[in-house]
Subunit: 202 residues, 2 copies
DNA sequence: ATTTAGTTCAACCAAATGGTTGACAAATGT
DNA sequence: ACATTTGTCAACCATTTGGTTGAACTAAAT
């Protein structure tokens, strides 16, 4: 196997699979459709990835290993709480605007397959002790109102992740089109961190 | 057709379909599995609902018409903003704890089928003018900090809806089991409204 | 008692779908 | 040059899956 510029067929399969799986989910995705989008024969999918399940797992792991480190920033970065919130919000929204199907895809498949979810997290268990200590310290030092670290973590995640996962719901209720939605998301890069900081600062 | 206690077969089909569709989604759901769960022959599904698509739509509409009015409370209820936030948070979380698959199901299928989503909302278009006026008034009267009505609506939705949609992600990152998760959700009935009110009150 | 309409199911069916095979071409090593 | 490995595809295959059919059974209506 040449390491030069990794097999072009294999990578075009993976790219096509990413597109289809992330838009349609495992169950609704069709191997033929992936082959068509990759511009190759269906046999090639099996030649490189053996089965639909394995191809799916390759796509899922790639997606998850892209998203997880971003969320880990909240609990593991070294900066102050407010900087952490400001940076995460800015970075995450910027990133997801470019990959709008990612969070929904991951959440969807984790919901469908709790086994897989548990296995995934047991391999490399995140640890929020550091984050919890930081919150407790800031509370003790009178920097922020008393709040549970878990609840704050959920709130940060919710305010940043939900708008993309629930996009159709939001577009429907606010009766806005894609362009206006995107504008709202750009505003949220500062809107959300302001909101969180206002909620907890003394 | 007797109106007495609405056909027991038909309703047991609908109940089984709700369970399967909401847990697995349209694509992964199997007609045979629904029939098994309903304890009847597969032909009965088609006898009462013609096709998988129509059965799915019956389930989806039932789910959506349960959830939508709750969200409408935010934009249409008559009470003050703070009361609105307190009531909605309390009611919504209490309700969803009893129907944990609902929000994910609806969001999932809206994402998969943007056509359907657009049609759904064009039938009975929600209108946030009233809510927008309320926010603008409260801002003018110095009750709350300046904030865009759309952004506040998204934030309220996010903080309440996301934890259930993203449950596996949260359980994974916080490394907690179902029992602890449920405890966190119960705490959120007051936690979330406090958080929102703190974020916007002057 | 007989018709009629509604209900239920076992057995089928056609299409779709994930996966396999075998032949063949294109590199790659010797 | 030759042999071996690797890549590619058209044609198949087995199974699953949504959907149909026709016969039997029930219960009310005539």
């Amino acid at each position: 196997m040449e390491i030069t510029e990794s097999n072009t067929t294999e990578s075009s399969i993976l790219n096509a699979a990413k597109g289809i799986f992330q838009r349609k989910g495992m169950a609704a995705a069709r191997m033929q459709e992936i082959a068509d989008e990759a511009g190759i024969n269906k046999s090639m999918l099996h030649y490189y990835y053996r089965s639909k399940q394995l191809l799916f797992e390759a796509v899922f792991k790639s997606a998850f290993s892209t998203l997880a480190p971003q969320l880990n920033e909240i609990i593991n970065a070294d900066n102050s709480l407010f900087d952490k919130i400001i940076n995460f919000t800015q970075n995450y929204i910027t990133f997801i605007v470019k990959h709008p199907y990612l969070p929904n895809f991951i959440i969807q498949e984790l919901n469908r397959n709790p086994e897989f979810a548990r296995k995934l997290f047991s391999e490399k268990m995140p640890n929020i002790d550091k984050f919890r200590k930081q919150i407790e310290n800031d509370v003790t030092n009178g920097l922020i109102k008393p709040i549970n670290a878990e609840q704050l973590f959920i709130n940060i995640l919710a305010l940043n992740v939900f708008p993309f996962v629930g996009a159709p719901l939001i577009k429907g209720f606010l009766n806005i089109d894609d362009k206006d939605f995107l504008k709202l998301m750009h505003e949220r890069k500062i809107e959300v961190s302001d909101f969180i900081i206002n909620a907890i600062k003394i």
